[in-house]
């Protein structure tokens, strides 16, 4: 981000200068994570980017360590998990961190995404930033799905069977694609082995796209609850210490939630059937994915056509790619869009509803409800968002970020901020 709000990196020693002339790594870190200006009015929903990077590190570190004990073989995979749980020093801890970590990762990413939806973070000039985020989300889903296969329990095996079979819906080449994915004529040893390899690879691809995501962020700068761009030094604080310490506080609170699950409810978010070894002859009564994929699963099952169901399921994610061009409103933040704000919350409820329905059997009224919610899901993007921009009367916005926090600029310097000003309640640091 081009700015002259805070002093840039200035090497203080001869060694520092020597190094900086050859590899300005310290300069990059300093200018990106110390002197980088962030809007002063960011609320706690803006701390989830930092939380997500911590979660990525936690997942990679515990995953690398678990890979030292795991055996990617259909005869030994389940046993090696039990070996980790019983014999490996702290193996139970590492595995529970990794399995619950996936859930926490998705919890954080959903809050992060909905924050972006609420405050219009996808709008110009941040389209690339948003699209990179959707790419990360897709990679996360692929990684989580393949990781869930590795314990080779009943849900692993049948989840893998069902999800890979989605590709058989592709006309003409579907069957060949599925056989290619499996490396055989059913989910088996080749499938497990390649999923293990890819499950190890993809997180590093995620890390790469995250680097691009952060790069794009640092080009445009953060959005903020007002949706107004930074205009002066009044509007910003330096990343360190202000944002750093605030992120650290949010991370600590998030770790408390994480620890609650790891130490006291380690199997709450998992499925009991996955403690049974995979059996290619017996399908569990209810195959359900992990909770974080349930809304998409509900959309898949809502459609009575195989191909169309798969198309809609992938479409429900793909629509996020074109979201920046579907929303016609010039106002970013929902704080100043009275109608969009209501539709946003309806959309949240619809997504949660789809998640609930994804866990229910596909029968009777559940299917009807899932169909209605699916239609609404797409209507939100293709009808409501384009039309709202045309019909909605946005509320007046403050002149600047500083105004929204500290009161209008025409007040004498040092006067207390006007209570009940245009500031949104969550602008308090």
């Amino acid at each position: 981000m081009q700015h002259d709000y805070f002093p840039r990196y200035e090497p203080k020693t001869a060694v520092g200068r020597w190094f900086d002339d050859r590899l300005p790594l310290t300069r990059l870190m300093y200018d990106s994570f110390v002197a980088y200006p962030v809007p002063r009015n960011l609320n706690y929903f803006y701390t989830f980017g930092g939380i997500l990077s911590i979660m990525l590190v936690v997942q990679i570190v515990t995953g690398v360590v678990l890979a030292m004990h795991y055996v990617p073989h259909e005869d030994f995979a389940f046993d090696s998990i039990e070996h980790i749980m019983r014999n490996v020093n702290y193996g139970w801890l590492l595995r529970y961190i990794h399995s619950n970590g996936a859930s926490m990762f998705f919890l954080a990413v959903y809050i992060h995404i909905f924050r972006g939806l609420y405050f219009g973070s996808y709008k110009a000039p941040r389209e690339i930033l948003w699209i990179l985020g959707v790419v990360i989300f897709l990679l996360m889903m692929a990684t989580a799905f393949m990781g869930y296969v590795l314990p080779w329990g009943q849900m692993s095996f049948w989840g893998a069977t069902v999800i890979t079979n989605l590709f058989s819906a592709i006309p003409l080449v579907g069957e060949s694609v599925v056989t290619w994915l499996w490396g055989g004529f059913a989910v088996g040893q080749p499938t497990l082995n390649r999923f293990y390899s890819l499950h190890y690879l993809l997180p590093f691809m995620i890390a790469g796209v995250v680097a691009l995501h952060v790069w794009a962020l640092h080009v445009t700068g953060q959005t903020n609850p007002t949706g107004i761009e930074v205009k002066s030094k009044q509007d910003v604080v330096p990343f360190t210490p202000h944002a750093t310490i605030k992120d650290a506080f949010a991370m600590t609170l998030f770790l408390i939630l994480f620890a609650w699950f790891v130490f006291y409810l380690p199997n709450y978010l998992g499925h009991a059937d996955n403690y049974q070894k995979a059996d290619p002859l017996v399908t569990p009564a209810h195959i359900v994915p992990e909770w974080y994929l349930l809304p998409f699963y509900a959309i898949l099952r809502a459609v009575p056509s195989k191909l169309f169901g798969v198309v809609l399921m992938f479409g429900s994610i793909a629509v996020l790619f074109i979201l920046p061009w579907l929303d016609t409103s010039r106002v970013r933040s929902a704080n100043y869009r009275p109608l969009y704000r209501q539709f946003f919350w309806i959309f949240v409820v619809v997504c949660i509803g789809l998640g609930y329905l994804g866990a229910k059997p596909a029968e009777g009224g559940y299917v009807v409800a899932a169909r209605i919610l699916t239609i609404y899901y797409f209507a939100h993007f293709f009808l409501i968002l384009p039309l709202l921009g045309l019909f909605e009367n946005p509320r007046p916005r403050p002149a600047s970020i500083a105004d929204s926090v500290l009161g209008p600029a025409d007040q004498p310097s040092g006067a207390p901020a006007a209570a009940g000003g245009v500031a949104a309640p969550e602008t308090r640091g």
């Binding site: 202000h242 609650w260 130490f263 006291y264 109608l339």
Partner: protein, 282 residues
């Protein structure tokens, strides 16, 4: 004006799925839902954030497993040595060796291809059962669950209720009864309204009153008054199988307490630092 219209439309859209849900709840045509009866709750010693296993109970449970279950069900992930665990059954090293040596272990390196068990061995497989596949019991208390339903499953996060598996197993073991008139029980099956995937299962009732004489009830033991009932047997063997499924549970909960205290103190410290840092920015 059109704001109000849009709101009305949205409200209708929201009510529709709710209405279809209530229709779903009344739906009789769908597949039947099991179990017929929800599991009965037991007050387990291992429940809650400070729960621990009772070694005496686990030793009794081990005896029940060996006398009532082991003929058909394996315990293939449990090593004899772990029975000495202080937070588990807490057998002495000699008792573990003696127990292990009662089993015959297949070992290609042994002179006759088999040898007496050692502490480092796991329980050998149960003999094959004709026409059925009795599951291994090592993780059975984690592999069985009964759906809790909305909103109970949300409360469970706060109450830390984790005992669906044990409650289910206990209810199943004590739940055999005569079938009501309107239920057909196929030959070779046994009616049990707590069974998770039907009304009857192939496993015959395994426990009977006074069928097992607890070693703990020997005359020279000060606590020799454990009731020898189906209810007690079921509780003891379920507790034992909870331990086999989660042998590090006590370590997990005690480490969890330390981690929680650390994180809460850290959160307090970071919060005050954050307040100090931001005080200058306002």
């Amino acid at each position: 004006m059109h704001n109000a219209l849009i709101r009305l439309l949205a409200a209708i859209l929201l009510v529709l799925p709710l209405a279809s849900l209530s229709y779903a709840a009344d739906d009789e045509s769908g597949t039947p839902h099991y179990p017929k009866n929800k599991p009965r709750h037991v007050s387990w010693s291992f429940a809650g954030p400070f729960g621990t296993f009772d070694p005496q109970q686990l030793q009794r449970g081990l005896q029940v497993y060996r006398e009532a279950c082991a003929a058909c069900h394996s315990l293939g992930y449990v090593a004899f040595r772990t029975l000495a665990s202080e937070s588990g059954p807490h057998l002495s090293a000699d008792a573990v060796r003696a127990l292990a040596s009662e089993y015959i272990i297949e070992d290609p390196d042994a002179p006759e291809g088999e040898r007496p068990g050692r502490a480092s061995d796991v329980f050998p497989d149960a003999p094959p059962y004709p026409d059925a596949n009795p599951p291994d019991l090592s993780v059975i208390t984690k592999a069985r669950t009964v759906e809790r339903g909305f909103p109970t499953f949300i409360f469970d996060i706060f109450t830390q209720y984790q005992e669906t598996g044990p409650d289910y197993l206990y209810s199943l073991l004590t739940g055999y009864q005569d079938p009501p008139d309107d239920v057909e029980v196929p030959d070779g099956n046994y009616y049990n309204p707590y069974f998770v995937s039907g009304t009857a299962l192939a496993m015959p009732p395994p426990l009977f009153e006074e069928a097992i004489a607890y070693a703990q009830n020997a005359d020279d033991n000060p606590n020799n008054d454990v009731p020898e009932t189906v209810d007690q047997y079921a509780k003891d063997v379920t507790a034992f199988l909870m331990w086999t499924a989660e042998p590090h549970m006590t370590d997990r909960k005690s480490l969890g307490l330390a981690v929680m205290i650390f994180l809460i103190v850290l959160a307090g410290l970071v919060y005050y630092t954050k307040k100090k840092v931001w005080a200058e920015a306002h």
